[in-house]
């Protein structure tokens, strides 16, 4: 399946290689680097490439390329999904998935990769199982290890892999038993010039942080499960129960995990929390343009809009901008030509406004297309679809856990065309 893995930095430096079958020379990466050169933007590199003897499947995460080499037919999604799982594991272990962090923890990374694949086929990808075998590095432990000569590799061998709940390790113990669920919804929308919604939908996830002793069996139910149009679950969720009763019944993994992700039925209208009044124009003659953006609340269900940001990728011919913001600060990146306006909290009484002039390279023609505006925002204590958790029940254990649910609405790919 997967023969080899190469980690390649943003600049094209191969800094880690791992082989699960015969060694494949790293010169195979040259084909990839060539394609990367051609594509310009790393996002534009095709994920599946062909070389005379190998097939290259790559992902781009955290300014890193994870490049896997395979010699025979394999479902490309299989490899892509696995590579993302590897990146997720690194993120989970080291808190970040970047070149520096991976270089710092090369040995742990190597040990992880060794356990995750056997002969190119995924062996252990569950975070719970891996953590039993290889302990994540912490400052305390590394200090202790240097003093005592202890190791990161677990002395006990994993039991989870064998049980019928492979995602949960056995013998979990906590003094404070707690279970938190975050319902996070993102609005993906495209608004056109006049503010009409061209396209809008809501994606949500239920992230869980469960720290419960023993083998708890949880049941989470919603007030209005019919809102959910399409769902996908963590393997722990019993699908039959969901199909028949629309409740989530599961034995949770220990720690943080994504319980489910869902899509809200497209029949429902999507409430758009803010409106954007914009006027961006480039003058036909002369090398300047004007920009005027105002943002106001629209359907916020009485909650306040926070962390409001506005990103405007300007045309390449823009030299500089001279703007004034009534609230927050703005920056203009000269290399990427992106205007980033960090508004902060939206005040309905005094609407934030950004206006000023744009200067364009002299001689270059007027940009054909106005840049689109990307909005970022956050609304606490609100799930914009109206989804509500009704109750959480626990079976199988005696103690009373502490339970909590939090709702957050964010802007996903929220774009305003101008």
């Amino acid at each position: 399946m997967i023969n080899s893995l190469f980690l390649i930095s943003h600049s094209g430096d191969i800094f880690l290689e791992k082989h699960w079958k015969s060694v494949i020379s790293r010169s195979v990466c040259d084909y990839f680097l060539e394609a990367k050169e051609k594509a310009g933007d790393p996002e534009n590199v095709a994920p599946v490439l062909q070389t005379p003897h190998h097939y290259l499947i790559s992902i781009y995460r955290g300014k890193l390329f994870f490049l896997s080499v395979t010699q025979t037919e394999v479902p490309p999604l299989f490899v892509i999904e696995f590579l993302h799982r590897v990146a997720d594991t690194f993120q989970d272990y080291f808190g970040d998935c970047s070149e520096v962090v991976i270089k710092e923890n090369t040995v742990t990374v190597y040990e992880l990769l060794e356990e995750m694949l056997d002969n190119g086929f995924p062996l252990a990808t569950e975070s719970n199982v891996l953590k039993e075998m290889i302990r994540p590095p912490t400052i305390l432990r590394s200090v202790v290890n240097t003093l005592t000569g202890g190791s990161n590799v677990g002395g006990t061998l994993p039991t989870g892999q064998l049980s019928n709940v492979p995602w949960r390790r056995a013998g979990v113990k906590y003094t404070n038993n707690e279970a938190y669920f975050d319902v996070i919804e993102e609005i993906d929308a495209i608004l056109d010039k006049s503010g009409t919604t061209v396209f809008a939908e809501i994606q949500g996830v239920v992230e869980a942080c469960v720290k419960l002793t023993g083998m708890p069996d949880l049941t989470l139910s919603f007030m209005n499960p019919r809102l959910l149009d399409d769902v996908s679950f963590h393997p722990c969720v019993r699908f039959k129960r969901w199909e028949s009763e629309r409740v989530l019944s599961f034995i949770p993994p220990d720690g943080n995990f994504r319980l489910m992700s869902y899509h809200v039925s497209s029949q429902n209208l999507v409430a758009i929390p803010v409106y954007v009044k914009q006027n961006i124009s480039f003058l036909e003659t002369g090398s300047c343009g004007r920009l005027d953006i105002t943002i106001g609340p629209k359907q916020t269900m009485g909650k306040s809009v926070e962390n409001l940001t506005v990103t405007i990728p300007m045309p390449k011919s823009v030299l500089s901008v001279n703007l004034t913001a009534t609230q927050g600060t703005y920056t203009f990146d000269l290399t990427t030509k992106v205007v980033l306006w960090d508004v902060g909290k939206l005040n309905p009484q005094k609407l934030p406004n950004l206006r000023g002039s744009i200067s364009i390279q002299t001689g270059s023609p007027k940009p054909e297309e106005n840049p689109s505006i990307n909005i970022g925002l956050q609304i606490q204590q609100l799930a914009i679809s109206g989804l509500k958790v009704s109750r959480l029940d626990m079976y199988g254990e005696k103690y009373k856990p502490f339970k909590g649910v939090k709702y957050v609405t964010k802007a996903g790919k929220f774009q305003v065309r101008t």
């Binding site: 191969i14 082989h19 015969s22 933007d41 996002e43 534009n44 062909q50 992902i59 395979t70 010699q71 479902p75 490309p76 999604l77 892509i80 696995f82 040995v107 990374v109 190597y110 040990e111 056997d118 002969n119 086929f121 995924p122 990808t125 000569g149 990161n152 590799v153 061998l157 892999q161 064998l162 049980s163 019928n164 492979p166 495209i190 503010g195 009409t196 919604t197 939908e201 809102l227 149009d229 399409d230 996908s232 019993r238 039959k240 199909e243 028949s244 899509h263 497209s266 029949q267 429902n268 209208l269 409430a271 990728p313 023609p365 054909e368 689109s372 109206g386 790919k413 774009q415 065309r417």
Partner: protein, 1107 residues
């Protein structure tokens, strides 16, 4: 104290050494001589060697860590092999693991030394701890040393019968490793695979199938007896194994079952799904040999379906391709929603999924049409994602959605990503050829693009226009002339060549311009690109043949230039053309035919998808993604004409499962068990094994509600059910016997579903599932057979939901008149049941929305944003004569006649509806009762019915109003007009003008709006008006009679403007009439709805030209 000091000291030294080593490596590798590494690295490696040979575990560990770091950087550390291999038996687990890493990496290079470690592993293989056994086997099999092949073989065989499933799993992995090391062992390995395939552990299943696929993918016979087991285990196998098993089973199924698609060719949509026994009778009348799906085939489809909800994208894709390749056509659409969900995942996932959707959407537009919006391009998407989305949008384009798509394309053309803009132009070209209604609009749009500033855009437009003109060689000389004008400014060779070709091809249509272009080309010939030169020669030749008087000398000049060109292609072409067209002694007979050769009518190029030929590969494979046949790709065979013997899949004796883990078989699907109870043979088997599995199933079913016993051998529960079922079915008119197995958990779920639907429907009842079944059957006094068949088929977990869905309206028609209230309730209920059913394809139909939480919907509706900008408002009043249309003639309506007209008032029920006034007249001699609108077929237009007219006396007439949402298309609204006794199918087809409502606006507003709607959104024509219509008043009267628009007051005398909005979407429609001399006028319509525009134009033209 001393220890620490020593340690630190050494560490510091080693670190320095490593650093030095790194530096030297860096310099050396840049110099290109990697060989020097060892000599300069000598010191460092010595250092590591010392550390490895010390007595301190921590030092050894430190050394190993550094070595692993070297390996990870791809540096050579093979000279340390002897020092490292000594530590293979270390007690420290981490150290041992790192040594394993090293060993596996370098054993191939240091074979002799590697043998030193073998005995350690052999010992470990006998260890009581399963993990140690497994890891020993893992490393042993990873050491690629041919000498130890016999040892590996022995170890694998032993491990394959280990008690621990984990060790057995490891042995399955080892099989592949050994096979790649020594292919001669194949036969022995197949034996082991055969053995492991029989394994019942979910842990082993995935790994052994991987081994099977690698070692002997053609030994399909090994799968037969494990097929059902694999199907049943599937849900519990770990996700990676699921992918491999699903792919393998897809291949297997294509060789073992007959095609479920045959029917589709013969029957139309509604009669597709006759796999169910209750409909067999009907089918028997029509077709001699019905298709019955093999129960094993169904088992596979059923057991893979829940996996569509997996979080693993590869699993979802695997199931999607399985359905695409194996499921009956009408069931495939259940995968759509899940595939669309995957589009929210990472960029790379999107890429692969979009590729697959592109292939699917060519063959099955309908599958993805409801999700069209998900394929809208975002400016932040990567270029390859954008192009794929464009591809899909183009595939999905049809008459109904083309205007939306084209509007999107207009935005895309302006994109800063020029590669994408060019791809968009190609896509517009494809839409134009596929959908004849918009060809002209597209052409106009493309011509506008010719004046674009960007060269690539212009070039691409020229190329596409060339192709379009070729497909439509009508009067397009305007465009050709326009292109000739632009010719001087276009520099892209491909575009220039295309224009020249067009000139030549249609030179007779532009007799004046073509020679002039040739003249210009003669001047610049030498400095042109090759491709342009070739086309110049072509143009010259064609002109010479048609217009030799003017161009003879020019042609000769160009041919002379070409004769001495540097490129031999051009010299060749010139020689050939000269011989062909210039008469001489040598040229002979060909000369006469020169005209026929050069000016033959050419077949138009077909603009088709780049994904057209990808369907030869199995979806979701690497081959499909790259569009080449990759190594190791297994062809998907065609369906066999007759199915091979299905009995090979039967398993005689089933022992109770001996699981190592106590309850590994959790969450087994009772559904699949049910399936076997159909089959007599299987039932017997289950009876035989029933005693053995009873405790098994009871113990597991108590553990969780979702478990219904493990795999096929838990017959006990299913038997109970089937006996209960048979009683029930016998009380039903005895029609459906196999169709209605409802397991206890299922009936429970049904009950729940029913409860849920009851909330939505007004009916209240609290029977149990079984009760309500019989109750309902008892309730239907008339048409019992039809209703019960519909009932049983919708209740049963069989395959015919679709069928009953489409079938049920027919019997209802008969009963509806007599048992109206009852049937109405029933039909409602049925619809909702079907919606919730397993196999219902995502229905975008109206009934569903009523089921959906209506409260929230209304909440949100209140908040909905008005998309009408404040400057303009829609007005309600408009004048004009009212046209009345006949809805129902009194002869066909048995006395009831109905007429309708459009009152042109905003609809009261919903703003998106068009108000329709219906006048019902009773021209019979008796009174008619209960006139109402009957049920509509699902998926039809949204209609707001009028209240039932209780009684209509003879001769009396009554006027009722209703609202219809035509969603801006002239599609007819079909519905049933019912009286107490009869029902009549009627339809209302609106004229396009009635789908508008007037909107008032000031002239400046009108002009500014019009400017926004140029290009593709503009449709215009010159019309000749009847003399009576030339006065301003008459014109507006005529226009208003055709379309429900408002007059825009204007002070210009020769201009008349009208404006309106479409009722459903509120898109602006602007009509401008510019009077010219001698009763002609230029009629222009600007709107986003291009299809409506062309229809409206036609209607207006007709009205204005009539007196």
């Amino acid at each position: 104290m001393s220890t620490t000091a020593l340690y630190n000291d050494q560490q510091g030294g080693a670190e320095a050494a490593v650093e030095a080593g790194q530096e030297t490596t860096a310099t050396i590798s840049s110099g290109g001589a990697a060989f020097g590494l060892f000599s300069t690295d000598f010191k460092k490696n010595e250092d590591l060697k010392e550390m490895l040979e010390s007595n301190k575990e921590s030092l050894k560990l430190e050394a190993m860590k550094r070595i692993v770091q070297l390996i990870s950087k791809g540096k050579n550390a093979s000279d340390l092999f002897p020092a490292v291999v000594k530590n293979v038996a270390s007690k420290n687990i981490e150290l041992k693991k790192l040594v394993y890493v090293y060993l596996v990496r370098y054993a191939e290079e240091q074979q002799d030394l590697a043998l030193l470690s073998i005995s350690t592993f052999q010992r470990a293989l006998k260890d009581p701890n399963q993990f140690i056994r497994a890891s020993a086997l893992r490393v042993l099999s990873s050491i690629r040393v041919p000498i130890i092949v016999p040892i590996m073989m022995l170890a694998i065989k032993e491990a394959a019968s280990d008690l621990s499933p984990y060790v057995r799993k490891t042995s399955a992995h080892a099989i592949q490793k050994l096979y790649s090391l020594d292919a001669d062992q194949k036969e022995h390995l197949i034996e082991v695979i055969e053995k492991l395939l029989k394994d019942k552990s979910t842990l082993v299943a995935g790994s052994v199938v991987v081994a099977f696929e690698e070692v002997c993918p053609d030994r399909i016979d090994l799968i037969h007896r494990n097929y059902r087991k694999l199907c049943n285990l599937l849900v519990d196998v770990e996700e990676w194994g699921q992918v491999v098993i699903i792919n393998m089973l897809t291949r297997y199924a294509r060789t073992q079952f007959t095609s479920p698609w045959k029917e589709d060719g013969i029957f139309d949509e509604s009669e597709k799904a006759f796999y169910d026994s209750d409909s067999e009778e009907k089918q028997g009348q029509r077709e001699a040999k019905p298709y019955i799906m093999d129960p094993d085939h169904r088992l596979l489809l059923r057991n893979t379906k829940p996996l569509l909800q997996s979080r693993n994208t590869a699993v979802v894709m695997a199931v999607a391709q399985l359905y695409w390749h194996l499921a009956p056509k009408h069931e495939v659409s259940i995968v759509t929603k899940s595939l669309v969900r995957l589009l929210r995942s990472h960029r790379e996932v999107q890429y692969v999924v979009l590729q697959n959707i592109a292939t699917m959407s060519i063959q099955r537009k309908g599958m993805f049409e409801p999700y069209m919006k998900s394929f809208y391009v975002r400016s932040t998407d990567a270029t390859h994602i954008k192009t794929l989305k464009l591809e899909i949008l183009t595939n999905l384009a049809n008459e109904a959605n083309i205007s939306t798509i084209l509007r999107g394309f207009q935005t895309y053309v302006k994109s800063q990503d020029k590669a994408f803009a060019a791809a968009t132009i190609q896509a517009i070209g494809r839409c134009a050829t596929n959908i004849s209604e918009v060809t002209d609009t597209c052409l106009n749009g493309l011509v506008l693009l010719l004046s674009n500033r960007d060269e690539t855009v212009v070039a691409e437009s020229v190329v596409v226009i060339k192709k379009l003109l070729q497909t439509q060689p009508t009067q397009h000389c305007d465009i050709i002339k326009h292109m000739a004008k632009l010719f001087d400014n276009i520099t892209v060779p491909m575009a220039r060549a295309s224009i020249l070709w067009l000139m030549g091809e249609y030179c007779e249509r532009v007799p004046k311009i073509a020679p002039d272009v040739l003249r210009k080309m003669a001047k610049t010939f030498t400095s042109e690109e090759d491709i342009v030169k070739l086309q110049t020669v072509n143009l010259a030749a064609k002109l010479y043949l048609t217009n030799s008087k003017q161009t003879k000398l020019l042609t000769q000049y160009i041919l002379n230039l070409g004769k001495y060109d540097q490129n031999y292609d051009i010299r060749d072409r010139t020689r050939f053309i000269r011989q062909l067209i210039v008469p001489s002694e040598k040229s002979g007979a060909l000369n006469k035919y020169a005209r026929r050769i050069l000016l033959a009518s050419k077949p138009a190029p077909v603009l088709e998808s780049a994904f057209k030929d990808r369907d030869r590969f199995q979806l979701g494979t690497l081959s499909h993604s790259l569009n080449i046949k990759t190594t190791g790709y297994q062809e998907l065979s065609d369906w066999p004409a007759t199915a091979p013997d299905p009995s090979v899949r039967n398993v005689e004796v089933i022992e109770p499962v001996q699981e190592w883990a106590p309850s590994l078989g959790k969450a087994k699907k009772p559904k699949s068990d049910k399936f076997y109870s159909d089959d007599e043979e299987d039932e017997k088997e289950e009876e035989g094994s029933g005693s053995g599995s009873e405790d098994d199933s009871s113990s597991s079913s108590s553990s969780s509600s979702s478990s219904g016993g493990s795999s096929e051998e838990s017959g006990s529960a299913s038997e109970e059910e089937s006996s209960g079922d048979s009683e029930k079915t016998s009380s039903d008119s005895g029609k459906s016997s196999s169709g209605s197995e409802v397991s206890s958990s299922e009936s429970e779920s049904k009950q729940k579903k029913k409860k849920l639907t009851k909330k939505a429907t007004p009916r209240k009842s609290k029977q149990t599932a079984a009760d309500s079944d019989s109750d309902e059957n008892g309730n239907g006094p008339v048409g019992k057979t039809s209703s019960s068949s519909a009932e049983s088929s919708s209740d049963s977990e069989s395959d015919s939901e679709e069928d009953s869905d489409s079938d049920s309206p027919a019997p209802q028609k008969k009963t509806v008149a007599k048992t109206k209230p009852k049937v109405e309730v029933k039909s409602k209920k049925e619809v909702s049941l079907l919606d919730l059913d397993d196999f219902s394809p995502a229905p975008p139909s109206a009934p569903k929305s009523s089921v959906f939480s209506s409260s929230l919907l209304s909440d949100l509706e209140g908040l909905s944003l008005s998309n009408v900008s404040s400057a303009m408002q829609v007005t309600s009043s408009s004048f004009g004569p009212v046209k009345t249309y006949e809805l129902l003639h009194h002869m066909t309506g048995k006395g009831l006649s109905a007429k309708y007209h459009f009152p042109r008032q905003p609809c009261l029920y919903q703003p998106s509806m068009v108000a329709v006034q219906v006048i019902l007249t009773n021209s019979s001699d008796h009174s008619l009762e209960e006139i109402h609108i009957g049920d509509r077929s699902p998926g039809s237009l949204n209609v707001h019915c009028f209240n039932t007219v209780e009684r209509l006396e003879p001769g009396a007439s009554v006027s009722v109003s209703m609202g219809i949402d035509f969603s801006d298309s002239t599609q007819a609204a079909n519905f049933q007009l019912c009286t107490k006794e009869d029902q009549f199918s009627v339809s209302i087809q609106p004229a396009v003008g009635e789908l508008l409502m007037p909107s008032t606006m000031k002239e400046p507003d009108f002009c500014s709006e019009q400017k926004k709607l140029m290009g593709m959104n503009e449709t215009s024509a010159t019309i000749t008006m009847a003399t009576a219509n030339t006065s301003k008043q008459n014109i507006s009267k005529q226009v208003l009679s055709v379309a429900n628009v408002g007059v825009v007051s204007s002070d210009q005398n020769n201009l008349q403007r009208f404006s309106g909005r479409t009722v459903s979407s509120g898109a602006l429609v602007l009509v401008t009439l510019e009077l010219r001399e001698s009763s002609t006028a230029l009629l222009t319509i600007n709107t986003e709805k291009t299809v409506m525009a062309s229809m409206l134009l036609r209607d207006l033209k007709q009205a204005l030209s009539q007196a």
